[in-house]
Amino acid sequence: MLPGDEKMVERCLQGDDAAWETVVNSYAKRIYNLTYRYTGRRAEAEDLTQEIFIRVYQNLKSFRSDSGSFQGWIMKVGRNLIIDQYRRTRRFPQAAGTEEMESMNLKDEKLPNPQRGVEQTEASRFLREGLQALSPELKEAIILRDLEGMAYQEIAEFLGIPEGTVKSRINRGRLELAKLLTKRRTQARMQV
């Protein structure tokens, strides 16, 4: 929990608009990136981010500081909305072929081999597409662990599932991504 979050929430509940603005400024980036990783499209991520903050604003009263951090609570609200959105639309649209497929500058000092460097750049490009191909549970686990950098214990608490299940989902998600990437590379070689 960020220092002063609890007081900030109290001020928000008392109608202090400046405090609410501080909350939005503090968490907007994290929520936006989370939604972007789920949806793979900026416009949809923006709409979802907006919806999440509206939901947070409307439900501020239900936040209890003794039941967890404010950040965790916001993330939960966000996750629930993302899942709702997924159920409504059944699946998020594929991010492949969008203008957002910028190349990423990867630096892996442990693997100086140029061939491996090229392969990793390809992997990171593929990641956006690959994530959309995973089932919601696996995608969620990968996003929280590998993109958001949360610990297994934290994810287990966040999702309300055992830590073993979290580890299993993460392993299955990574394996699926690795298999998809291998398949894609094989196809690319066949075309050449």
Partner: protein, 208 residues
């Protein structure tokens, strides 16, 4: 160790969270199985790719939308944003660009016409310019004085000449006009006596 078992533990192997013994067993399998080795390498690539996954900044437009839809209060602007809103954004409009272009053209023309004069004024206002100007003024006054003096001398000479020559000739001519018409010659002393004070004569005009 079978491939399925290795696959189950691959994630922990990549993260190096497996117990030492199992790490060794998985490593041994990977040395023997190219398929699992390839899978492990791809998983490692994906993890590196995840670390490099871009983190995007939220646009101010989105923050505005969120605040307007929730508290209804517009976002407070930073000093930079305020400066941008007041000074930069108006500049980036076609109307301003047109006006600025016209003003620049006008200023350029005015400067082209004014700058030579400004240079002259500036040179005159310098100490050296002021001294030169004063010197020029004094010389002009002196030359004007000289001209007046020579003109005065000229007029004086002309007057003297007129007085000495022209009036003398005029007196002579008047004397000639005073000769009697009827042919009676009178002696010179008689003529003098016959002259009365009220009688008309031009002799008084003659110089003494």
């Amino acid at each position: 160790m079978q491939c399925e078992v290795v696959e189950e533990r691959l994630s922990e192997y990549v993260e190096r969270t497996l117990p030492h013994e199992e790490m060794v067993r998985v490593a041994e399998h990977l040395q023997e199985c190219p398929g699992c080795l390839r899978l492990m390498e791809e998983m490692r690539s994906i993890l590196v790719g995840c670390k490099a996954f871009p983190s995007y900044e939220v646009t101010t437009a989105l923050l505005d939308r969120i605040l307007l839809r929730t508290s209804g209060r517009p976002r407070s602007r930073t000093l930079r944003e305020q400066l941008r809103a007041y000074f930069v954004q108006p500049v980036l409009t076609p109307r301003f660009a047109m006006s600025a272009g016209l003003v620049l053209l006008f200023v350029a023309l005015a400067a082209a016409l004014m700058i030579p004069r400004v240079n002259v004024v500036a040179s005159v206002l310098s100490p050296r310019g002021l001294l030169l100007q004063m010197d020029r003024g004094v010389q002009q006054i002196y030359s004007e004085g000289l001209k007046l003096y020579s003109a005065k001398n000229e007029w004086q000479n002309q007057l003297t000449y007129f007085k000495n020559n022209m009036l003398g000739k005029l007196g002579f001519m008047i004397e000639q006009l005073d000769v009697p018409v009827e042919g009676k010659k009178k002696p010179a002393d008689q003529k003098q006596q016959e002259k009365r004070p009220g009688q008309k004569s031009s002799a008084w005009l003659l110089p003494a």
